[in-house]
């Protein structure tokens, strides 16, 4: 689901001297969140969750899941099922290695917090034969806020082009990479849910969640010969009044974007029997007004990224087959900080690099352990990053084991599913420092349930 990201906001807050504790709270409240598979898709197609999703629970997609999305969420079994409405919710317990300097959020303690993280309502499925939607409204139980969440409405059609089958379509959405088919790009990447009550690193690139729900736009895409995927979208930042109306808070004092924001995507994919490989590139460029203040110049961020996916299906005939799945991405950001230099004396040019790679093995679409390595490094700048020495670098590992009892062809419950997960985040570096980085390590238990009406 949602990826309201603190990137823009943080930069503005950091530059304007807010306290570290307030910033920490802000990060916690606005941390990226994720969307999952929804049972209305399963109802519409008559397929179990495991047909589309690795581990029988979203959002990690198999080839069929990618095809379903590519074709506009419209595929179905031809039977009427009523409106495709579904709901999800998850609850959790978070323990960090050291107590935090202040309560993790309003109404929460400095450590060992139980939370109702999110309750979401979805329209997920066909609207017409060629138009479908994934649209989500979420109540954030940590921020105590109802908000418009990830939305992707698309039209899709297939035709012949250069003698080969081609699927083309159009998407209207509110989050760059929400329309993407792969789990290597930011919105749908691992971890698929994470604690809203544990510290997270400050630095992130703009495309890595910084625009989620704060922009709206759309564009076109095409998959040629099941081999080449291209997509180009244009976004525009939403005004404060729209953000306020859609529940995207806080509003006042947050960064604004100026002008149009182009997003591009190119990917190559290929099936080699039981092996599947994808390599691609994506990116975005945007002008940002720090804190929403227009002093003339703006900050220009340009993100250029590469990604790769690999899946190995042990028994392709069975949707509950064991699957090895791996994703990787590297995002390079160049920033020209004309506005921040004027406002706070930041260096004119910045760069930020993020690398992530994860691998999982799903046993019988029931038990799925995953391991991820992540690393972010950026230009040192005491006038820009609110860390002791101006270094925002972070790195570490995330280990997770998920257990999903249902969502298989023989499951006795077909109207819903549940996912139990335990996750541990281990920092080797956190916001520039290595000593005490482990104080931010977090143990996170979650129970995630989904059902359709």
């Amino acid at each position: 689901m949602a990826a309201i990201l603190p990137g823009l906001l943080l930069r503005a807050r950091l530059r304007h001297g807010a306290s570290r504790v307030a910033l920490l709270l802000l990060v916690l409240i606005l941390r990226p969140s994720q969307a999952i598979a929804i049972p209305s898709f399963a109802q519409q197609t008559g397929q179990p969750c495991a047909a589309c999703h690795v581990g029988a629970f979203g959002p990690q997609l198999k080839q069929y899941g990618r095809d379903f999305k590519l074709n506009g969420y419209t595929a179905g079994d031809g039977h009427p099922h009523g409106l495709p409405i579904a709901t999800t919710g998850y609850v959790s317990f978070t323990h960090t290695d050291a107590a935090q300097p202040a309560p993790a959020a309003v109404h929460f303690a400095v450590n060992d917090n139980f939370a109702i993280d999110q309750l979401s309502l979805y329209y997920g499925g066909r609207i017409t034969n060629s138009v479908g939607a994934f649209a989500q409204v979420t109540y954030d139980g940590v921020a105590h806020q109802l908000q418009i969440d990830n939305t992707d409405v698309r039209y899709a059609h297939d035709t012949d082009f250069l003698g080969q089958d081609t699927v083309y379509g159009f998407t209207a959405n509110n989050n760059p990479t929400v329309s993407d088919l792969w789990n290597s790009t930011p919105v749908w990447g691992f971890p698929y849910n994470s604690s809203a009550l544990a510290p997270t690193p400050l630095a992130a690139s703009l495309i890595d969640g910084g625009l989620g729900q704060r922009v709206a736009g759309g564009g076109g895409y095409a998959m040629w010969n099941d081999l080449v995927y291209v997509e180009a979208d244009l976004y525009r930042g939403l005004g404060y009044d729209v953000l306020d109306a859609t529940g995207i808070v806080p509003v006042t004092g947050t960064d604004k974007t100026r002008g149009l924001i182009p997003y591009w995507r190119l990917a190559l994919q290929r099936d080699f029997g039981r092996h599947y490989v994808e390599v691609g590139t994506y990116g975005i460029t945007a002008s940002v007004l720090p804190g929403g203040i227009d002093v003339g110049p703006s900050d220009r961020f340009t993100d250029f990224a590469f990604d790769a996916n690999y899946q190995f299906n042990v028994n392709a005939k069975s949707v509950i087959s064991d699957i090895v799945s791996a994703h990787a991405t590297w995002i390079h950001e160049d920033a020209s900080l004309g506005a921040s230099q004027f406002l706070s004396g930041a260096l004119k040019s910045h760069r930020l690099d993020t690398a992530r790679a994860d691998v999982s093995y799903s046993f019988f679409a029931t038990i799925t352990p995953t391991l991820q390595y992540f690393q972010t490094s950026a230009t040192n700048d005491v006038a820009y990053w609110a860390t002791p020495d101006g270094r925002p670098d972070s790195s570490g590992f995330i280990a997770e084991v998920a257990y999903v009892p249902w969502g298989k062809p023989d499951s006795f419950i077909s109207w819903g599913n549940v996912r139990f997960a335990v996750q541990y985040v281990d920092y080797t570096r956190f916001d520039g420092y290595t000593h005490d980085a482990s104080a931010n390590n977090a143990l996170y238990f979650s129970i995630w349930a989904a059902a359709h009406f």
Partner: protein, 110 residues
């Protein structure tokens, strides 16, 4: 007794003829396995049939589209079930699974 060698030879010839690869086979079977068709295209003669055999553990729903994009829905096909469709007119037909849009093949009837 004297005719036995001739009969054997005749039978062998018939068997060999039946076993020989033939793009215009009177009936061919397309496997549905791993949510793909076993062939991307096939050429048959008018009046010949194709058998679609679901070897997956999920349901399929095959539709056959003619050149005017009119669809013939073969209905839901549960795991282990085979469906037979007669292609009685010449033309180029697209075969799709309405549940699994990645399942695609072309049948050329001529």
């Amino acid at each position: 007794m004297r005719s036995t060698p001739l009969l054997l030879a005749a039978n062998l010839a018939v068997c060999l003829a039946l076993a020989a690869p033939d793009a215009h086979a009177a009936s061919a079977t397309i496997d549905q396995s791993g949510q793909v068709f076993s062939q991307k295209s096939i050429e048959i003669a008018p009046g010949e049939t194709l058998t679609f055999a679901n070897h997956d553990d999920v349901t399929h729903n095959i539709s056959v589209f003619n050149e005017d994009d009119d669809a013939t829905d073969l209905g839901l096909q549960k795991p282990g079930v085979s469906l037979v469709h007669v292609f009685d007119k010449a033309g180029r037909f697209k075969v799709r699974c309405s549940i699994h849009p990645g399942m695609k093949m072309v049948v050329n009837v001529k």
